[in-house]
């Protein structure tokens, strides 16, 4: 055995032999009981206050009434939620015009027809034709463009009598009927 270990063992043995002695068990006992009593005293006061404030809930008929009232309140709440959800669903299906100036007002007949068609489709879900907003916008734009081009063409024809005659002639040939432009 190394001398270090021998010394270590001797010191360890000395400490093992020297068991700490508690000379004041009674003092500790007194202190502990005092603290426990204090804790219990506070606990007792707290429970008394709680009993005074809320003790009435333990009366039989009050207890039963409270249970009934809470059940009624829950049912009312569920019913209200149902109504609110239903109303939200209805509102979400309606077209809301917020400001006449801000919304695009249909100027031409075709656009009016398209709007009526769109709205009627929403009002009568059984005859619904699904079309997206972007497709509708694209359609309206192309109709507008077509109308502008038509007017330009009309002007061109009006300004040039030879062209007018030529087109009339071609149209007669094509349809076998006379058309006045």
């Amino acid at each position: 055995m190394k001398p270090e270990n021998e010394k270590y063992n001797k010191v360890l043995n000395l400490l093992r032999v020297s068991e700490p002695t508690l000379d004041s068990t009674k003092e500790i006992e007194r202190e502990v009981i005092k603290r426990i009593t204090k804790i219990n005293h506070f606990g007792l006061i707290f429970s008394e206050v709680i009993d005074f404030l809320f003790g009435w809930v333990y009366i039989g008929w009050v207890r039963r009434s409270l249970i009934t009232a809470s059940i009624v309140l829950i049912l009312v709440f569920v019913y209200q939620q149902g109504i609110i959800l239903k109303r939200i669903d209805v509102l979400s299906r309606q077209t809301v015009v917020i400001d006449k100036e801000n919304t695009s007002s249909p100027t031409d007949e075709i656009e009016k027809l398209l709007m009526v068609y769109k709205n009627s489709g929403r009002r009568f879900p059984s005859k619904t034709i699904t079309i997206s907003e972007s497709q509708m916008k694209e359609l309206l734009e192309s109709v507008n463009e077509l109308q502008i081009k038509y007017k330009d063409l009309e002007n061109l024809i009006e300004e040039d009598p030879e062209l007018k005659k030529l087109i009339e002639k071609k149209l007669i040939e094509y349809n076998h009927t006379k058309i006045n432009l």
Binding site: E4, K10, V11, L12, R16, P20, T25, I28, R35, I36
Partner: protein
Amino acid sequence: MIDLQLIEECRGGNFNNFRKLIELTSPFAYSVAFRMLGNEDQAKDVVQETMVTIWQKLKKIKTAEVYKTWIYRIVVNKCYDEMRKRKRNPEFIADEKTWELIANRISEGPSAALENRETSMVITILTERLSSKQKAVFVLSDLEGMSNDEISEITGISKSAVKANLYHARKSISEKVGKYL
């Protein structure tokens, strides 16, 4: 010997039985606390707090067999708290006289024992460099004679960690003893 009957009676709120439990429990709780802290007053405080905690949580105890382990766990945790407090307010007591005292007592033979005050000084000088865990493991293993399994259960650290902490604690103390004694 602490039996289940006594614990059961204490659960019912009987102070007289709890006094008996304090009497039976305090000595070994004090032994561990004193050896870990090396201070009589602090050890007594730890014992008091431990007994109050026992009173408050006695209902959790299912069998008398686990009672002792449970108490050791409470004591060790309270000692950790005390050591943490002490870290904030460190005090250094040990000096060369302590080493002289150890040398004298060892020379008196294996039956020589230290008084509480002397034990306090020796423990302080030997364990001042140890961490809280190392102190706990050293005290429980080498001074209280517990197995690694028991220490693992009390401290909540793995068996391998217990072994490692014990190795470091022994090494540190052994080096000190070799250097100064």
